[in-house]
Amino acid sequence: MKSLEETKQDVIGEFSMYDEWLDKYEYLIELGKNLEAYPEELKTEDRLIKGCQSRVWLDYELRDGKLFFRADSDAIITKGIISLLIGVYSGRTPEEIAGDDFSFIDEIGLSQNLSPTRANGLVSMIGTIRQVAEGAL
């Protein structure tokens, strides 16, 4: 498995291939469509991430000292974003995740290019992942 740093660089590289934001959205939509199916029974109120305009569910488990995430959203671009996040952070130790500054999100321009409500959603998604990691320390 690639290191957290390598994975982040991969994502940054992937995003920089597209000049147009519409193409970046196409990429996020693809990520969203390819995200592993999320069990219906896990779409519960307590797994909903608060602060997003669309509904986003996040489920996790701690296995062999590593956190594994699953997620879903009813909006496909949001689903692409959460897919991107769990692609980077799933399978990492709580220490790695909690110690990360999540700054690659700024490097790919995601937070600046989303509407404030959506950016808030992004902040909430990151916050929840960080919270889960800190809770598992």
Binding site: L22, E26, I29, Q53, S54, A75, I77, T78, S115, R118
Partner: protein
């Protein structure tokens, strides 16, 4: 009038977003301001800034003069019987809250009933819920028919001896249909029940005559009728405003202040406590002048109708698109279209359209009960103003198709 000339009066319409020309289709949320409004706004701050009514100096008199002349212009715009019936507020929300509080204090007792409508904006629901909580009163909900019009039959069923006020909207901010308010008011008045009309959308699109409509209260916002933000109006029949206690206490709204009992200023100052929005209120004059001039222009009016006709066709002619608020008569529909697309989330559509330069609204549009009633989590809404062109409408439809293709 040529639409190209109109657009020149709105500097923001010439700007770009993400390198693309801005196509602003979120006018129902707030409208852009013409230069005439911006100039008055600036002039009031630069040359006429003084507090109202209080001082005798020249600057105070010119500020007061501008403010009070605005009241006359608004009275004329609504065709109200007297200027005392025009109260300035910060917007529709403030106007409705004022009535919910003050009317409620005077007239609502435990067990009384208040009628709100299922298509209501949260601003015309929540203030009444708060009132019900304060007074142990009961909220009743007026339904819409299958097209989306408020239903007179529904009102006949729910109105009772205990009903004390009916709060409805002239045009829903989601459905964009002109409601049969006159009929609803007549039904209410037969039972002796007063009616508040939320005119936030209605005042923009319809010529308002509060005497002919015979509503007891009418509320609208300045920023939606091309005036400055933070301005609003409450029209109330004098008999009600006189019988209602003040909403807020403070300067300007008093006659005499004594520790053993304070008396109130006459109407409308009784409801205008504190320093008013001195620089913004006078912008209602050029805004109303502008609005009335474009409404009366046959070329602009015809262009608007053409856009409504075009979008009604496009948005009902696609299998995946479900349009809410389909009129029985085409003249009932304003340039406001809310819809869902099967298989594509409203937020995704709005995000993609944004990147194409088109500003639309997505989500629940401050009408969660209506969303629940219609069984959706949100919608996309496009709303047009007289400065929007047919080319923009066509560009929107083209981009919508492209966005749908990206998502499905």
């Amino acid at each position: 009038m040529k639409i190209e000339d109109i657009r020149k009066d709105f500097p923001i319409l010439g700007t770009t977003v993400y390198g693309k020309p801005l196509v602003y289709l979120d006018n129902a949320a707030t409208a852009q301001k013409p230069l005439s409004v911006l100039r008055v706004w600036e002039e009031m701050s630069m040359a006429k800034n003084a507090n109202l009514h209080r001082a005798v100096h020249s600057l105070a008199m010119s500020a007061t003069d501008a403010y009070e002349k605005t009241r006359d212009r608004v009275r004329d715009f609504l065709h109200a019987g007297s200027r005392e019936e025009i109260v300035f507020t910060s917007g529709t929300t403030a106007s409705i809250n004022l009535v919910a509080f003050s009317f409620g204090e005077a007239f609502i007792r435990e067990g009384d009933e208040i009628v709100v409508s299922v298509d209501g904006h949260h601003s015309n629901i929540v203030p009444w819920q708060l009132l019900c909580q304060r007074k142990n009163a009961v909220l009743k909900v007026l339904e819409i028919d299958e097209n989306g019009y408020l239903s007179p039959d529904s009102l006949r069923k729910i109105i009772s001896q205990r009903t004390k006020i009916v709060a409805i909207s002239l045009i829903s901010n989601v459905l964009g249909l002109i409601n049969p308010v006159k009929e609803l008011i007549d039904i209410s008045h037969e039972k002796g029940v007063p009616v508040l009309v939320d005119g936030a959308q209605g005042a923009v699109h319809e010529k308002i005559d509060v005497q002919e409509m015979d509503c007891d209260f009418f509320a609208f916002s300045g920023h939606k009728v091309f005036a400055a933000t933070g301005t609003g109006v409450l029209y109330g029949k004098k008999k009600w405003l006189e019988a209602m206690p003040p909403y807020m206490g403070g300067g300007e709204m008093i006659d005499h202040v004594r520790f053993d009992g304070t008396t109130w200023a006459p109407l409308p100052q009784k409801f205008e406590a504190g320093t008013q929005n001195i620089s913004a209120v006078p912008t209602l004059v050029p805004a109303i002048d502008w609005l009335e001039s474009v409404r009366e222009d046959p070329e602009i009016e015809a262009g608007q109708r053409e856009i409504v006709r075009y979008l009604s066709g496009e948005l009902t002619g696609r299998e995946r698109i479900r349009l809410f608020g389909v009129p029985r008569r085409t003249q009932d529909k304003i340039g406001l279209f809310s819809f869902t697309v099967e298989g594509a989330h409203h937020e995704d559509l709005a995000l993609i359209l944004d990147k194409m330069g088109i500003a639309v609204r997505s989500g629940q549009m401050c009408a969660e009960p209506l969303m629940d009633h219609l069984g959706v989590t949100g919608m996309v809404r496009v709303s047009f103003a007289p400065y929007n062109t047919m080319e923009e409408a066509e560009y929107f439809v083209k981009c919508l198709d492209k966005a749908i293709a990206m998502l499905i």
